[in-house]
């Protein structure tokens, strides 16, 4: 019995809508309209193909589907993409290592296009060629699950999409139910009750509070050397030629512009352990969740080398950068390629404004990697000086500010000081010369803090620059400055400016950042005072990669591999019987077709392994199920053992009777038993 045409067409429309809705589940990953290009063709084309090839072979439909998928990718890439298949294979990893929202790049969107297309193809063909009711919705539901997983930490709500999926699945089940159209209305209350239950019970589930986030287990790209020369090494060079214009910033207030963060020290150089992740513009917030000032900046490049992007601490959103990557730990920004002159982007930063009490209550964070001191005799000296400097300070924050004041008071700033920040150089700086640039001051501060058990790092950036009308600050190479930061629990990283003469509000005529002003104010309160003087320095090599990539985490691979295997198994379990029946039905020659019909019937009767049974014995066992079994057995015997070739009409009749027996078996077998048999590949 064939389903009415309207049910078939409505089913295909629903399958397309389901696939499209499942694809729309990626809206938390790609919030923009670009998602439409990835979703709509992938959802609609297979349904159209299925509608047009219903009575054609499956291979033809699949070929057309593949061609249309390819056409969809051309629309997505706006041309032919040579690395298309590699993009499809790599996109999932790209998405898992991207901070949401992701850039709507074709090489990422192609995954959505492919998933939606696959769901639509499987769904449409299952609907077209089987009598199952909701099996056609299964691929779309799986795709929606994938979308939920990828977009778990994105913005926006899943509720409307989930509701739409539920409604469409219910609608599909109703349309596939071969009962009068009016009966379909009876399913509406059931769907409403189900949706209400989901709404009420959903938030009570344990995973509702802390949903599983695959990105937490994704293996991030290894630290990499993003510039041939470390920004810390450039400090001295830039100071030698201070007039070189690097960039301008249009901002409400002057701030120090951070460029790079270096948190690993090996005794010779400071390097960065940053794991940069692609992002569509959002930058994860820091640890501080209290009072903060929002600073909006528009940065225009003039001659800043490298791919680092300056911004005030701490950026939370960046626009105007294509191929932006961010280190979630430090908030450092990186462009995909070297920005040219005139390149402009906008940054919104959140500058922490903790209260004095917050500072007094702060305790250093526990992080062994950030308090590590390289082995060497210098540690003793650094510890002795640090203890001397912080003598009498009972709180960590006071120790830090006293350390800052100590360096400012006991060493001088000198632009011509030898560059470098190795342990021996810093020892020479602290014991002998007492002259250096911010490179040495920041490094010495960070290492002395580490001997006190305070996690520290070095930041390379710029002072606010020269103020111009309209809130524009012109930053030149001479404005470069390194400072140190200490990490406190809850507060996050707090900056300290130990360099005298260059980082104080009274040292020069340049604009001084509000952060420095505040830091000086606090230092006055927490210490017994101290003075400083200016001087200068020179670079060393910056950090590079430390760890090799080990591929994605096994914790991620295992469930994904399991999911893939599960989906593959379900696919095989679903398609295998249909495929086998189809192969038997289309076997070459009427004789083979008759034999195929008989074997199919034996399978349907659960007698696949009873090979010792003759046709008559099969009839004796199961003849009560259908009156078509005996004639089918006769035809089968004739085809196998009679001397004549069997007529094609007999083969048709055999299949008609086989189908009738199959329907009779289905009517007698509970749905659960059928599902069990199918899942067990019986």
């Amino acid at each position: 019995m064939t389903a009415p045409a309207w049910r078939r067409i409505a089913g295909l429309v629903l399958v397309a809508a389901l696939a499209g809705t499942a694809g729309w589940g990626f809206h938390r990953v790609f919030p923009g309209a670009e998602l439409i290009v990835a979703v709509v063709p992938g959802a609609v084309a297979p349904a159209l193909v299925a509608a047009l090839t219903r009575s054609r072979p499956l291979w033809l439909a699949l070929m057309l589907d593949v061609v249309l998928w390819f056409a969809g990718t051309i629309a997505l890439y706006r041309g032919f993409a040579p690395g298309l298949f590699a993009d499809v294979a790599d996109a999932w990893q790209g998405l898992l290592t991207t901070l949401l929202p992701a850039q709507p790049e074709p090489h990422l969107l192609v995954l959505v296009h492919t998933l939606v297309w696959a769901a639509a193809v499987i769904g449409a063909e299952v609907l077209n060629r089987t009598r199952t009711r909701v099996a056609a919705a299964l691929p779309s539901i799986i795709v929606y699950g994938v979308a939920l997983l990828f977009g778990v930490d994105g913005t926006g709500s899943n509720l409307p999409v989930a509701g739409a999926v539920v409604v469409l699945v219910v609608a599909l089940a109703l349309v596939r139910e071969e009962r009068p159209a009016l009966w379909l209305l009876a399913g509406v209350p059931a769907g409403a009750v189900l949706a209400a239950l989901a709404l009420v019970a959903g938030p009570l589930l344990p995973i509702a509070a802390e949903p599983y986030n695959p990105r937490e287990n994704a293996e991030l790209p290894p630290p990499r050397r993003v510039d041939s020369v470390s920004p810390l090494d450039r400090v001295s060079a830039w100071l030698q030629f201070p007039g070189r214009e690097l960039f301008t910033v249009k901002a409400d207030k002057p701030h120090n512009w951070r460029l790079a963060v270096l948190d690993r020290y090996d005794g010779v150089r400071w390097t960065s352990a940053a794991r940069f992740q692609p992002t569509g513009g959002r930058v994860p917030e820091g640890e501080w969740d209290g009072e903060a000032e929002t600073v909006r900046q528009s940065v225009t490049f003039s001659g800043l080398p490298g791919t680092w992007l300056p911004a005030a601490e701490r950026p939370v959103e960046v626009t105007g950068v294509r191929g932006l990557a961010v280190d979630p730990g430090s908030g450092s920004l990186l462009a995909a390629g070297k920005p040219g002159k005139g390149f402009t982007y906008q940054v919104t930063s959140r500058v922490a404004k903790p209260s004095k009490q917050d500072l007094l209550d702060a305790t250093p964070a526990a992080d062994a990697s950030l308090t590590a001191f390289p082995a060497g005799p210098q540690e003793k000296l650094f510890r002795k000086l640090a203890q001397e400097a912080t003598k009498g300070a009972d709180l960590p924050i006071k120790q830090a500010y006293r350390l800052q004041s100590y360096l400012r008071a006991n060493a001088g700033y000198e632009v011509a000081a030898p560059p470098g920040h190795s342990l021996k150089g810093l020892e020479f700086f602290l014991e002998t010369t007492h002259r250096g640039t911010s490179e040495q001051f920041a490094s010495a501060f960070a290492l002395m803090a580490r001997t006190l058990g305070m996690p520290s790092r070095v930041v390379v950036g710029f002072r606010p620059g020269e103020a111009e009308p309209g809130g524009v600050y012109r930053v030149r190479s001479g404005h470069v400055m390194a400072w140190a930061e200490i990490k406190f629990d809850r507060l996050g990283w707090r900056p300290f400016y130990p360099t005298p003469g260059r980082s104080g509000s009274k040292d020069d005529h340049d604009v001084v950042s509000s952060a420095i002003q505040e830091s000086e104010k606090l230092a006055g309160e927490f210490t017994q005072g101290g003075t400083d003087k200016p001087k200068q320095s020179r670079p060393s090599d910056a950090g590079t990669a430390e760890e090799s990539a080990g591929g994605p985490s096994p914790w991620l691979i295992a469930p994904m591999a399991g999911a893939v295997l599960l989906v593959a198994y379900l696919g095989v379990a679903m398609v295998r019987p249909w495929w086998r029946r189809r192969a038997r039905r289309n076997a070459p020659g009427p004789g083979q077709r008759v034999l195929g019909a008989w074997r199919q019937t034996c399978d349907d009767l659960g007698l696949r392994d009873a090979r010792a049974l003759t046709a008559e014995e099969v009839v004796a066992r199961s003849g009560a199920i259908s009156p078509d079994l005996q004639p089918l057995a006769d035809i089968s015997n004739y085809a196998r053992y009679a001397p004549e070739d069997i007529a094609p009409e007999a083969a048709d009749e055999a299949w008609r009777r086989s189908d009738a027996v199959r329907l009779a078996v289905r009517a007698r077998t509970p749905a659960t038993a059928r599902l069990r048999d199918r899942l067990l590949l019986r």
Binding site: G591, L595, L613, T614, D634, N637, Y638, R640, P643, D645
Partner: protein, 328 residues
């Protein structure tokens, strides 16, 4: 019978249909007398049309003789009964040459074996020499006296009976001679309803003498010839050979089925196929006849006998584990 092939191939199928019709007519006719024993009747008829001989092993009074008489009465054939006793001589069966003084020559006087259907009652009570004489006629289908052959009429069916109880003073047929019988069956007691019907029919019920003749001997001969032309597909040959070969390697059997056994099974299967209105043999035919045709040819091992494993049981196990041919 429905036909699934092209028109020009329908003639054998039609002939098979006619065969089946007549077969069923005969079986139905005999069943008027032998009530409730359709299977035994059909097996006996299969023996007749396969030109084999039937050994019935059963207790007295179950209708062995009546069965033979009913077959003879239904086909308008001559039948004789020979009660085998220890003093029965071979010539009492085959016949003797007597000198005719009037014609001054020896004349052959045919024995009771010269009939279409011969009932050899309690064959195991005769001496081996007499048994051998009968078995030789069964195989050769002729009696040779003074170098002159005397063929027995066609059709020719020997229905021998054995009594499984009261075996004292008997001469059990040796295995080699059992092999000469196409089938060994047991009529068995009728079921309750059939026995009631038998009682109700006495004395006015159907009698063998009153059975109508539904086929002439010449018709039977034609049906025998037709049965030999029934088609057997190669996979069915393989099936028969595989089954017989399996009996030769069964751990429960000391002696398996011989090639004569396979030939017998094939002949019987052909008749059964025709009796079902088919002009081709299906494995079902082989399976249905395997036990009556082969079981009496098998010799069990002592261990199997001790464990009460029957030859029929062994065959049943072999059939249950042997895949039927799947492809033409």
């Amino acid at each position: 019978m429905t036909h699934y092939s092209h028109e020009q191939t329908q003639q054998p199928a039609q002939l098979a249909g006619q065969f089946a019709q007549r077969f069923q007519l005969l079986a139905g006719n005999i069943e008027h007398v032998i009530r409730g024993k359709r299977e035994a009747v059909e097996l006996a008829l299969i023996c007749l049309f396969a030109e084999g001989h039937l050994l019935i092993e059963d207790v007295p009074g179950t209708g062995k003789t009546t069965l033979a008489r009913s077959i003879a009465a239904s086909v308008d054939a001559e039948w004789r009964r020979v009660q085998f006793t220890p003093d029965l001589l071979p010539s009492d069966i085959t016949g003797v040459s007597i000198f005719n003084q009037a014609h001054q020559k020896f004349e052959f006087h045919q024995g009771p074996v010269f009939a279409n259907i011969v009932l050899a009652d309690e064959i195991n009570r005769a001496s081996p020499k007499t048994q051998a004489a009968l078995l030789e006629v069964m195989e050769e289908r002729r009696v040779t006296v003074d170098a002159e052959p005397h063929p027995v009429p066609r059709p020719f069916l020997v229905v021998a009976t054995q009594n499984p109880v009261d075996m004292d003073g008997t001469y059990p047929l040796p295995e080699a001679q059992l092999d000469r019988f196409l089938m060994q069956i047991s009529v068995g007691y009728p079921d309750h309803a059939s026995e009631v019907q038998v009682l109700k029919g006495m004395p006015t019920g159907p009698q063998v003498e009153r059975l109508p003749v539904v086929a002439r001997a010449s018709d039977v001969a034609g049906m025998i010839d037709f049965a030999t032309r029934i088609h057997v597909a190669d996979p069915v040959y393989d099936y028969i050979v595989a089954l017989c070969a399996a009996t030769r390697t069964s751990p429960h059997l000391r002696l398996g089925a011989s090639p004569r056994g396979s030939l017998a099974l094939l002949r019987a299967a052909r008749v059964k196929a025709a009796a079902a209105g088919r002009h081709y043999v299906v494995p079902e035919d082989v399976k249905a006849l395997a036990v009556p045709v082969l079981a009496h040819r098998l010799i069990r091992t002592p261990e199997a006998e001790l464990r009460d494993v029957t030859a029929a049981g062994v065959l049943g196990d072999l059939l249950a584990g042997m895949p039927v041919p799947q492809a033409a």
